[in-house]
C-alpha cells in the first residue's frame, strides 16, 4: 500500500517543484510545465513560416483546474467580482460552471479555454490548453493545498534549470505552469473495447 502511495513521486527522478509544507487534504495535486508556441497564441506575424500542425493540446475537466500562473492574477480578481455578483444576480447561481470555473474561462484566453470536445464518461466540460509545443509533468503529490498554485518561485534549482532549457529549444516559446487537482490522468482513457461492451 505504501509503495502504491509513493508511486507518483517515483515517476520523476528530480524534484522540480517545491510543494507547500502544509497540506489540507489528500486529494492530490499535479503540476505541468507547458511550452506554448507564442506566435500561434498571438496570431501575429502570419507571414512568417510556421510549419503546420506543430502544436498539440491538453484537455482536462474544468473541475480539476486550480490555476495557470499566466492568468492566475486575473482569474482571482474575476472570481472575486463574480462572488460579489452572485449575491445580486441570481442567474449566476444557475450557471453550469461554478464562479471559480467561470472566472477561469473568462480570463483564460488565449492560454486556455473551454472546449467543445466531450468525454464519454465525464459530465463536466473540458478545458483545452491549445498551441503547445509540449507539456511535461514536473510535479505530482497525493497532498492538496489551500490557495496554492505553482509559479516559477516554487520551482527548485532543477525545476528552474529545466524551465530555462525548454524555453530555448524552439522559437517563440512561452512557458506556463498549470496546477491541477488529483493525481489521476487528466481524463480517463477509454478503449474501444469499453465502448463495445457498453
Amino acid at each position: 500500500m505504501l509503495q502504491e502511495m509513493d508511486a507518483p513521486m517515483q515517476l520523476i527522478s528530480k524534484r522540480m517543484v517545491e510543494f507547500p509544507r502544509q497540506c489540507v487534504g489528500r486529494e492530490g495535486t499535479q503540476v505541468w510545465m507547458l511550452a506554448y508556441a507564442e506566435r500561434l497564441l498571438l496570431d501575429s506575424r502570419i507571414d512568417e513560416y510556421i510549419p503546420l500542425d506543430i502544436t498539440t493540446q491538453l484537455l482536462f475537466p474544468i473541475d480539476r483546474f486550480i490555476g495557470l500562473d499566466l492568468t492566475y492574477k486575473q482569474h482571482q480578481e474575476r472570481y472575486g467580482e463574480l462572488l460579489q455578483r452572485v449575491e445580486t444576480e441570481p442567474m449566476l447561481r444557475t450557471n453550469y460552471l461554478t464562479a471559480y470555473e467561470l472566472a477561469a474561462v473568462d480570463t483564460g484566453r488565449p492560454y486556455l479555454d473551454i472546449s467543445t470536445i466531450e468525454h464519454p464518461q465525464l459530465n463536466r466540460p473540458l478545458m483545452i490548453v491549445p498551441h503547445l509545443y509540449g507539456a511535461f509533468l514536473i510535479g505530482i503529490t497525493h497532498d492538496s493545498y489551500s490557495d496554492w498554485h505553482c509559479t516559477t518561485r516554487d520551482l527548485t534549482q532543477h525545476g528552474q534549470a529545466f524551465y530555462e532549457r525548454i524555453k530555448t529549444i524552439l522559437p517563440s516559446t512561452k512557458l506556463g505552469l498549470l496546477t491541477l487537482r488529483g493525481t489521476e490522468p487528466l481524463v480517463p482513457l477509454v478503449l474501444k473495447s469499453d465502448t463495445d461492451d457498453a
Binding site: L11, A35, Y49, L58, G134, L137, I169, L170, D194
Partner: protein
C-alpha cells in the same frame, strides 16, 4: 536548402537532399509506466510511425502488398501501435463522433523535437537522427522519467 528557422530543433536528418515537399515533424512521447497517471493527447496528424514500431509496421505493409486485406493490415497496425496509441474512444466532438483516429495512452510528457519545411528522411527519425544536443536532451528526459518508455513519432505535414 533547409529553412533557416530554428524549428529544426534537435533534428539532424540523414541527408541534405529532400525526399519530398511534405514537411516533417518529430514528437517525443514519454509513455507513463502506469495508466493511472498522465495526459492523453491526440496522435499527431499524419503520423508515419514511431522509432520503436517502424520495422514492424514495414513488415505489415509488405504483407499488404503481398495480398493481406486492408482491414487485416489496419488491425495489425493497431496492434503494433497499441503500446502508445490506441483508437480514439476518449475525445468526441459535441456532435457525438470521434473525429481523431488515435489518441495516446497516458504520457508524462510530449514535446516537439523539431519540424522541417521539407521531408529529408526516407524512414522515421530515431535517436541516431538527433543532433548531439538532441541526444543529450533525450538522455536527460529518459533519466528524468525512470521506468517510462520514450518514443519518437515522425509525422508528415501534407
Amino acid at each position: 536548402m533547409r529553412h533557416k528557422k530554428s524549428y529544426e530543433g534537435f533534428l539532424n536528418p540523414p541527408g541534405e537532399c529532400r525526399i519530398s515537399n511534405e514537411g516533417e515533424r518529430v514528437w517525443l512521447f514519454v509513455r507513463s509506466p502506469t495508466d493511472t497517471i498522465g495526459a492523453i493527447v491526440m496522435e499527431p496528424y499524419e503520423t508515419l510511425a514511431t522509432d520503436r514500431t517502424y520495422d514492424a509496421e514495414c513488415v505489415a505493409y509488405y504483407a499488404l502488398e503481398l495480398g493481406l486485406s486492408y482491414e487485416e493490415y489496419r488491425q495489425k497496425i493497431e496492434r503494433i501501435r497499441a503500446p502508445l496509441f490506441v483508437p480514439n474512444a476518449t475525445f468526441r466532438s459535441d456532435y457525438g463522433y470521434f473525429y481523431e483516429e488515435m489518441v495516446s495512452r497516458p504520457v508524462l510528457a510530449v514535446f516537439l523535437m523539431g519540424a522541417l519545411e521539407k521531408r529529408y528522411h526516407e524512414q522515421v527519425y530515431t535517436y541516431d537522427d538527433l543532433t548531439d544536443e538532441g541526444k543529450a536532451f533525450y538522455d536527460f528526459i529518459k533519466t528524468l522519467y525512470p521506468g517510462s518508455e520514450l518514443y519518437l513519432a515522425t509525422a508528415l505535414e501534407t
